[in-house]
């Protein structure tokens, strides 16, 4: 009834090609954007931003990036943590070397640097496939973490090897450091998230994305119909790493403010982001958001319910949290193996026919 194509006519090519061709979908998207931009910033405090919104937005960018590689191009990667570290350290070096340049530029540049590193580590993908490819990216993961820990130049020769983000602003508004306003950091990350989602969405439905998907579905067949696997795979690695680099830079500079490479960007981060996109749905931008929300918000929610409301001992809650998250993953997979995004698709399909499904 609400969600339907009927009566929704496109009269120009531009209308036909828009991101959300169905009116209901489009308005829903506008409402979400409106709430995110004009409502939430006026309601948030430090707690909401630092414990929920920032990690959610930043992980969503990383998940979008990884989804391009795994979900759209079919190249399994376990190097996300390492690439996020590249973004973070690039951002740190840029921030300290050029204090007067806007943070927007630093973060984009950090993304570009990560893209180059990612493309380099993507080279073995031309020869190695499937789970075996994970080894190439794992090599990147462990090597990069070791490198940032070992070479003092990366952390400006500080005594302990931690990097801390100094105070920086953009357009006169403080963005990093302890004295930021909650809404400012939120808006800053939101801009990058929306930008990433838009770019990713449009890349994946354009010719580049179709090439990636052809490679994913069967690379030999794709090669025969004229897709250059070298170019397709390397662009996927580069674009994916670009987003992951941005998320790493934001993760360090805006969210945590100080990181240590082994602790913040270890192998568990790579797994975490991979879990997000599998739970959310491979090959879906919405799925990246859903997966990030699931793994960032659910534990916090369970903690609030268990500790703050019910007053149970923290260790029992932490253990139960693992049991519940694990159990939910299995239940979701049994109910819908293609992730939360597929549930959403099914729901939309039902909505289309509602209230007369037959």
């Amino acid at each position: 009834m609400f969600y339907r194509e009927a009566g929704d006519f496109s009269t120009t090519y531009a209308e036909d090609q828009q991101t959300f061709p169905i009116k209901f979908d489009r308005y829903r998207y506008y409402v979400v954007l409106f709430v995110a931009i004009f409502v939430i910033p006026f309601m948030v405090n430090d707690y909401w931003v630092n414990s929920l919104f920032l990690p959610f937005l930043i992980y969503a960018i990383a998940a979008i990036g990884l989804n391009i590689l795994v979900g759209y191009c079919g190249q399994v990667s376990l190097g996300t943590g390492g690439f996020m570290a590249v973004g973070a350290y690039a951002c740190y070096k840029l921030m300290t070397a050029m204090p007067d340049v806007s943070m927007f530029i630093h973060i984009l540049l950090a993304g570009v640097i990560t893209a180059a590193v990612g493309a380099l580590f993507g080279l073995p993908s031309l020869r190695i496939k499937g789970f075996y490819l994970a080894v190439a990216t794992l090599a990147a993961q462990f090597f990069l973490v070791w490198l940032f820990n070992r070479v003092p130049w990366f952390y400006n020769y500080s005594a302990s090897g931690q990097i801390s983000a100094p105070e920086r602003d953009t357009f006169g508004i403080l963005i990093t450091g302890p004295n930021t306003e909650a809404w400012a950091t939120y808006m800053f990350c939101l801009i990058f998230t929306v930008f990433s989602a838009l770019v990713a969405r449009n890349l994946t439905r354009g010719s580049v994305g179709r090439k990636w998907m052809a490679i994913r579905d069967m690379d030999i067949a794709a090669e025969i119909i004229g897709v250059n696997p070298l170019r397709a795979k390397l662009t996927a690695f580069a674009v994916s790493s670009f987003f992951i680099g941005i998320s790493g830079a934001l993760f360090f500079s805006i969210y945590l403010g100080a990181v240590e490479v082994g602790e913040a960007f270890g192998i568990q981060k790579s797994f975490l982001v991979l879990f997000m996109i599998i739970i959310g749905g491979l090959g879906s931008i919405f799925g990246s958001f859903a997966g990030a929300a699931f793994l960032v918000l659910l534990p916090v929610l369970l903690k609030i319910v268990g500790v703050d409301w019910l007053g149970w001992p923290t260790d029992i809650v932490a253990h139960l949290q693992l049991v519940i998250v694990g159990g939910l993953i299995i239940i979701f997979l049994i109910a819908e193996p293609h992730g939360l995004a597929q549930l959403w698709r099914v729901a939309k399909e039902k909505l289309r026919l509602w209230p007369f499904p037959h």
């Binding site: 707690y47 414990s51 302990s160 100094p166 007053g311």
Partner: protein, 426 residues
């Protein structure tokens, strides 16, 4: 733990509407994850001491104490969540017990005017109170540890270290790399040769490192480890038959957890400490009557008297005394976090004070000032007795080599001050 989850739930709901008049000391603990074995006893000790004060004395200066616990699993991101969720309750002081979380909170607590105490961990240069106004790391820091370890070795060797070889086995992370600069300076000063042997996280496989030590035959080994790395290192040292009394761990490598797995072979292993060990103190009798026997002990209640439990007690004691000092200075009992900071900064721990608390000779005497947030750097050495399964103090509290450490602290603090444009508050 004699109450039921059901009644707890009711109590929890009632506590959810915070009573602002309490003194709030949040405990960012970790009872799960890779370092749970270290986090549990500390969190238990921290909570039990405040429970004792509440039960026996009715709090500090008549104000009851509340210790909201938040599980970080030693994870920086969860640490942020915990900090943000507890700071609004009127938190007075944080003790994160994790170097990663500490670094991340240093600018935040300063901006929020809340103090942070990082005894024997965190950023060493926080000793410079001029730069780090809200961070305290008394009574000792990592560099004091390294210096006292060398001092102890020097005593063993009759005062001369020239031509000796000392190996540093360290966790390859920010924490493990802390002592390198100090040891390098000390090796120049005393003429010993320093060998650095990094172990990658998590440290379950250390064969290469210990074969290297077996080949190089250093006279002494100093270890900066944490978590599973400790147990494996002690085991491997025993395997290559390295003399255990020449193997000295930092305080984070010196708990029962670290040596029990190796059994009798760990006998004689040494570790540094900045507080006393065992449970032979008047305070522990009170703890037994008012907390353990009353069924109010935190966790399973089976950690009393272990090294890390004592560290929790000690940390809580320092905070409680600082709160008392703050109450005296400002003449109010319901202190704010800013007043608490003043209390921390004027804290003075004397032997009489500790004896009055029922903890005679429990730690070094020290006093804090605006410039010096780290005390005088007195550290002692303990040794493991595998037959009795207990740690024993084998030295007095010795002062670290301030001539070497102070310049390093000044250097690191001023680098931080320039990077973050801090003018100094003394």
């Amino acid at each position: 733990m004699k109450y039921k989850l059901g009644t707890l739930a009711v109590a929890g709901l009632m506590a959810a509407s915070p009573v602002m008049a309490d003194l709030v000391f949040p405990s960012l603990s970790y009872r799960t994850g890779p370092y749970a074995a270290g986090g549990i006893p500390f969190a238990d000790g921290y909570a039990d001491y405040f429970t004792l004060l509440n039960e026996r004395d009715g709090g500090i200066g008549g104000e009851t104490i509340r210790v909201p616990e938040c599980e970080t699993a030693y994870n920086t991101e969860k640490g942020v969540e915990c900090y943000e969720s507890t700071k609004g309750e009127g938190a007075l002081v944080y003790q994160p017990l994790s170097t990663g979380i500490t670094y991340q909170l240093i600018p935040k607590v300063t901006a929020d005017d809340i103090s942070m105490l990082t005894s024997g961990l965190g950023r060493t240069s926080a000793k410079d109170g001029n730069t780090f106004s809200h961070v305290f790391n008394f009574p000792a820091n990592y560099w004091d540890g390294a210096s006292v370890a060398v001092k102890h070795i020097m005593e063993q060797e009759g005062g001369d270290l020239s031509g000796k070889k000392i190996a540093l086995v360290y966790h390859n992370s920010a924490y493990g790399k802390e002592p390198i600069r100090t040891l390098q300076e000390l090796s120049e000063k005393h003429g010993f040769e320093l060998k650095e042997v990094p172990v990658d996280h998590p440290g379950q496989e250390q064969k290469s490192q210990w074969l290297q030590i077996r080949r190089d035959k250093p006279d002494y080994v100093i270890m900066y480890g944490w978590g599973v790395m400790n147990q494996v290192a002690v085991q491997e040292a025993a395997n290559i038959r390295f003399p255990m009394d020449k193997f000295i761990g930092i305080w984070w490598s010196g708990s029962e957890n670290d040596v029990l797995a190796a059994g009798a072979k760990a006998d004689g292993y040494k570790a540094l400490t900045f507080h006393n060990v065992g449970s032979d103190y008047p305070l522990y009798d009170d703890l037994k009557t008012h907390v353990v026997d009353a069924g109010k002990a935190a966790g399973a209640g089976d950690q009393v008297g272990s090294v890390l439990y004592n560290r929790g007690i000690y940390a809580a004691m320092l905070v409680a005394e600082a709160a008392r000092t703050a109450q005296e200075i400002h003449g109010v009992t319901d202190i704010s976090s800013g007043q608490m900071r003043d209390g921390m900064e004027q804290l003075e721990i004397t032997e009489e004070k500790m004896a009055a608390l029922g903890l005679p000779d429990f730690g070094p005497e020290f006093s804090v000032s605006c410039e010096n947030h780290g005390g005088e750097g007195f550290v002692a050495v303990t040794q493991w007795d595998a037959t009795a399964k207990e740690w024993n103090l084998v030295s007095d509290f010795m002062q670290s080599d301030q001539d070497v450490i102070q310049p390093l602290i000044d250097e690191d603090a001023s680098a931080y001050a320039t990077e973050n444009a801090i003018e100094g508050n003394c």
